[in-house]
């Protein structure tokens, strides 16, 4: 009853008329004869709660890993596959965020080690509450419900992922500095000869003349390239070794060696076996929390 999405409302009212005492199911009831229907509060589309429910969220958090380099992996069929080595070291849960307190469910984790001398006092207190060592990198993983939360202080190991499953890898790609249009966007540039002067690598025209009389927003131009967060979807996990603290994913991962990256279960369709399909009834339960 508490659901009041557009399509459902009418249907549910009809359903509820049948339960009214004194009327049989076969009887046609005038709408005016029903004094009051107790429908739940409508969910405002712009509310944080509705926003969160619209999001496609995973049931469990991922982990923080360190990119260590690349190698190759020979699989059972004899194929040689390029693989990235990801280390899971000192990855521990720091805090849980809840709807009641923060407006969303998330698991905050940290990885690596930072010297306490180099850490602020407020963060040291944060680590002490979770009973973990100071971390070099802290990140959050938003989850669907409170079932995905993990108690603070828990160590996350590499065997969270299984061999053969698909993961998404979120990392900062390498910065390339101020780059021209050819490097940044793959423009073809100008001609090398035939009287071309000083404009071999320029971007050329940026638009029309009088009619718009401006350059449209988002025009591809020279500028700072790289050093932005980049997600690579659906990388296969080739090998997992929790005891030694690493796992291999197929292909390459953005960013330099030694950089901290977020790894989670695949969010898109290929990972649908990991995302739960029961999305219909979760809304009312979560609202109580």
């Amino acid at each position: 009853m508490s659901l009041s999405f557009f399509g459902c409302t009418v249907f549910r009212r009809m359903e509820s008329t049948m339960k009214i005492a004194g009327f049989s199911n076969r009887q046609i009831i005038s709408p005016g004869a029903i004094p009051f229907i107790n429908s739940g509060e409508p969910l405002i589309q712009k509310s944080p709660e509705a926003r969160r429910m619209r999001k496609r969220l995973l049931e469990r958090p991922g982990l923080i890993a360190v990119k260590r380099g690349m190698t190759c992996y020979f699989d059972n069929k004899g194929r040689r596959i390029p693989a990235t080595v990801l280390e899971v070291d000192q990855c521990e849960v720091l805090q849980n965020k809840t709807v009641k307190k923060n407006g969303y469910y998330a698991v905050q984790m940290g990885a690596g080690f930072r010297k306490p001398e180099n850490e602020t006092k407020s963060m040291l207190g944060h680590y002490r509450e979770a009973k973990v060592s100071p971390k070099a990198f802290v990140a959050e993983f938003e989850v669907k419900s409170k079932d995905g939360l993990i108690p603070p202080g828990t160590e996350i190991k590499a065997d969270r992922f299984k061999v053969g499953q698909l993961v998404d890898v979120i990392s900062h790609c390498k910065g390339k500095g101020f780059a021209g249009g050819m490097k940044r966007w793959g423009f073809h540039g100008g001609r090398a000869t035939h009287g071309v002067s000083l404009s071999h690598r320029t971007i050329g025209s940026t638009g029309q003349n009088t009619d718009p009389a401006r350059v449209f927003p988002g025009k591809k131009m020279p500028g700072h390239m790289g050093d932005i967060s980049h997600t690579i979807f659906n990388l296969e996990v080739l090998d997992v070794n929790a005891e030694k603290g690493y796992f291999l994913v197929k292909g390459c991962v953005s960013g330099s060696n030694g950089s901290y990256i977020k790894v989670r279960d695949a969010l898109k369709s290929y990972g649908s076996h990991i995302i739960s399909d029961k999305s219909s009834s979760g809304a009312s339960k979560e609202k109580e929390n």
Partner: protein, 157 residues
């Protein structure tokens, strides 16, 4: 520095700072692989799995005087397919993904094959013939299509 064990079996360090206040800090988790760097561990683990007796590593080792070199004629013995023979053009040393590039003429057409040396289906590499004098280069790409090019090696050997 004072040390005492907390309830969670994690050692709690009490460190004093210049601000003269004690800050509770927990020790980090024990190091995995007894502190060995991950890439070197992974490399060694792969060597143990794919080359347990070290024979393939020995073929590439710079300390081995009878190592593989460009200009050698080798036969590669496979577990699941016929052996292939050819002259080495280049050796690419990159750990477990090391390659050798071998060249041969098949029906008058030059064929280059890149062989991943540590592939589990490769049993061994036999050196068929070594030259009297090596060419003064490590990579012999330049012999392709020239008068120095390889002949039909299967016929001559």
């Amino acid at each position: 520095m004072l040390c005492s064990f907390s309830s969670q079996t994690r050692r709690l360090l009490l460190r004093s700072f210049s601000t003269s206040r004690n800050v509770h800090i927990f020790e980090q988790l024990p190091p995995k692989r007894s502190g060995e760097k991950l890439m070197s561990y992974v490399k060694n683990a792969q060597y143990q799995r794919l080359d347990p007796n070290g024979s393939k590593r020995n073929l590439l080792s710079a300390e081995n005087s009878s190592r593989l070199r460009a200009d050698d004629i080798v036969t590669i013995i496979y577990k699941d397919q016929k052996p292939i023979t050819g002259q080495i053009l280049a050796i690419k040393r990159q750990g477990i993904s090391s390659n050798i590039l071998i060249r041969n003429k098949v029906g008058g057409v030059g064929v280059d094959i890149s062989v991943p040396l540590f592939h589990p289906n490769i049993l061994r590499v036999d050196i068929v013939r070594r030259p009297i004098k090596y060419r003064p280069r490590a990579k012999h790409y330049y012999i392709k299509g020239s008068r120095l090019d390889v002949g039909d090696i299967n016929k001559t050997h």
